[in-house]
Symmetry: C2
Subunit: 373 residues, 2 copies
């Protein structure tokens, strides 16, 4: 019932696989491969981390005489290149990949060390959780996520194929990309949003308690990822500093235009010509940008129809609603619960394919649910 089951299919990956770094990502790789019975040897500088990864089922402790066919380096970004170089040297017939979230600096460092690039494949699974460490690992962590695969230019085709197979075995969607394209892409869609969410959240430190009482869902959404791990993100920002700086500088340019417009709009008089147009243009540009963000299923964003339903905040209410939706045979594409601070009723916004919306509304209304049209 719950995702792909072990034994359902054969893995394309040939073991033994060595996983170096048994945090969230490394332990999840091990867990995913163990479902196919693949031999996984685990290594980590922290004896606690590696023992914990073993205990959650990610594999066995690595031995000195292991002869892996594939090494997965899942270390922090600032030490990844060094570990990759060491693994390439220690296992001269193995293919070595890493899963660091920045690819250009890692590749440059591996190349500068004179390592064997024909066996090295940089990669980046776009997966993560707010919790970290092997205890948070999931065999399904990569299911459905893009997994970027970087050919260094010198990489042998069979090495690229091996990492592609690893991604597919773990349920991910492989995506070939060069290191520079990748690093600019994550600067735009991941590193910039992270930085800006942290900057907005930082403004709340000194806000009076009364101000925070006025917080709504918008603030919660914008600042959620500001709870992320400072050490990990510091390493990511430093490793991708040039691309992140380009994005942040561009945003600052746009911000300065808004700041100037707000300055011109301050005071009792009607704002000068063009001031309001500047503010409206900023909002419209945001409209255009957010429309490009893909929905749940990747690819070009699909517009779902939204059905909104009142839900009392009592045990079982949401379950009853979703049971009713399940009975109609309509699949939920997304569900957002609108919170009602301090009180009893919420609104569930249910996204479904447009063809199903009218049917769902009719069926829910027939079951005495209040559909908000």
């Amino acid at each position: 019932m719950i995702g792909p089951q072990p034994g359902d299919e054969h893995a394309a990956t040939c073991g033994p696989v060595r996983v170096v770094g048994t945090g969230l990502l490394g332990a999840s790789v091990g867990l995913g491969l163990r479902r196919f019975g693949i031999d996984v040897g685990l290594a980590d500088p922290s004896p606690t981390a590696v023992a914990l990864a073993r205990d959650v089922g990610a594999g066995r402790l690595a031995c000195d005489d292991d002869e892996p066919t594939l090494v997965v380096v899942a270390a922090p970004p600032d030490v990844t290149a060094g570990v990759v170089v060491a693994e390439l040297a220690a296992h001269p017939s193995a293919i070595v990949t890493d899963v660091a979230s920045v690819k250009g600096t890692v590749l440059a460092d591996v190349r500068a060390a004179g390592a064997d690039l024909t066996r090295y494949v940089g990669s980046h699974p776009m997966a993560g959780r707010e919790r970290s460490g092997p205890a948070a690992a999931l065999p399904d962590l990569f299911a459905g996520r893009p997994w970027v695969i970087v050919n260094s230019g010198a990489t042998r085709p069979e090495a690229v194929l091996a990492v592609r197979n690893l991604a597919v075995d773990l349920g991910a969607v492989p995506l070939a990309m060069d290191a520079t394209t990748h690093d600019h892409a994550v600067a735009t869609v991941s590193h910039l949003p992270q930085l800006v969410a942290s900057l907005v959240a930082a403004r709340l430190r000194d806000a009076p308690p009364q101000a925070l009482e006025l917080a709504g869902q918008g603030l919660r959404d914008v600042t959620r990822i500001a709870a992320s791990d400072p050490q990990l993100w510091t390493a990511i920002f430093a490793a991708n500093a040039a691309a992140v700086r380009t994005e942040l500088a561009a945003l600052r340019g746009d911000l300065d235009v808004v700041l100037a417009a707000l300055g011109a709009a301050t005071g009792p008089a009607t704002p000068a010509d063009g001031v309001l147009a500047t503010l409206a243009r900023t909002m419209a540009a945001g409209n255009d940008g957010v429309a490009r963000v893909p929905g749940k299923h990747g690819g070009v964003s699909r517009t779902y129809a939204q059905v909104s339903v009142l839900v009392p905040d009592t045990p079982g209410s949401l379950a009853a609603l979703l049971a009713a939706i399940g009975e109609t045979g309509v699949n939920l594409e997304d569900l957002v619960i609108e919170h009602a601070a301090g009180r009893l009723a919420g609104i569930a916004h249910v996204s479904v394919v447009p063809e199903a919306a009218a049917h769902l509304e009719t069926e829910l209304t027939a079951r005495s649910w209040t559909v908000v049209r």
Copy 2:
């Protein structure tokens, strides 16, 4: 089953009530009051909007000889003061309130016009939806939301009480605040996040399609409100320009520090002393700020325990999970579905009171759900 029912209790509000401006907020006020049988007269410069509001049940069309005891002005922020002044003059015994999301400029303009401040009460219900217009109105729109009430200093106590009663009748939580405190608060918790979300989303306009394929839940959360209405927000920013500018300038100062650190971190050498500490401090400040954002039920944030469960992306799966949770008698405090782009399994993160987490995990596991620990 669905929220407070008409007839369950008596309203403290005495009608007739006149609603001027029948968009989302005005029509929702009408709908909420009609549940108590209160006479509501509707007015709007748009004949279509007022007829639509009547048709959804928000009240009757206003007549020239109406003698309202309370007038609710629900007009765009840039015309609110003018409408308030006109209504105070047209209905010399009525109490007049408005629901604009900026309070200082409205109060200043009403005062400057020499209007009768003893009968005027500025207010701001912290409610809204991504959809607008009377067709999106909800009688429960204000349920559980803070409703800020501003005493001008010259306002009579019975006028403040009348608006407080209105808020309570509509299910909101009244919150007394002066106009300046309010405007700075919303600049911090609402207007700044809106602007910044739009600025981040605007960076996506020119991003290559491949970059957008790497988008994850973080980007979706940060940019969701960038889909908001440009015209409404332009009026809000202009009306609260000074406070928004202060917040944005402060954020720009923090941003410049990050920009300088990223500049110093660019290049092959190890970053200079203090550069990484600057980046880590920015992230840590964000950690501290987001920890102050109140949870669903308002007040100081309560830490819920999170139980994470694998959910296949098939009709009825989420419903089955929530039915199982309902059977355990545990109340969902929050639910976040982690999307799995392009594939079949998702993870439902269920927030519950900490005391209930272990029980819930045991019960779900006993029902064959895969709980991720």
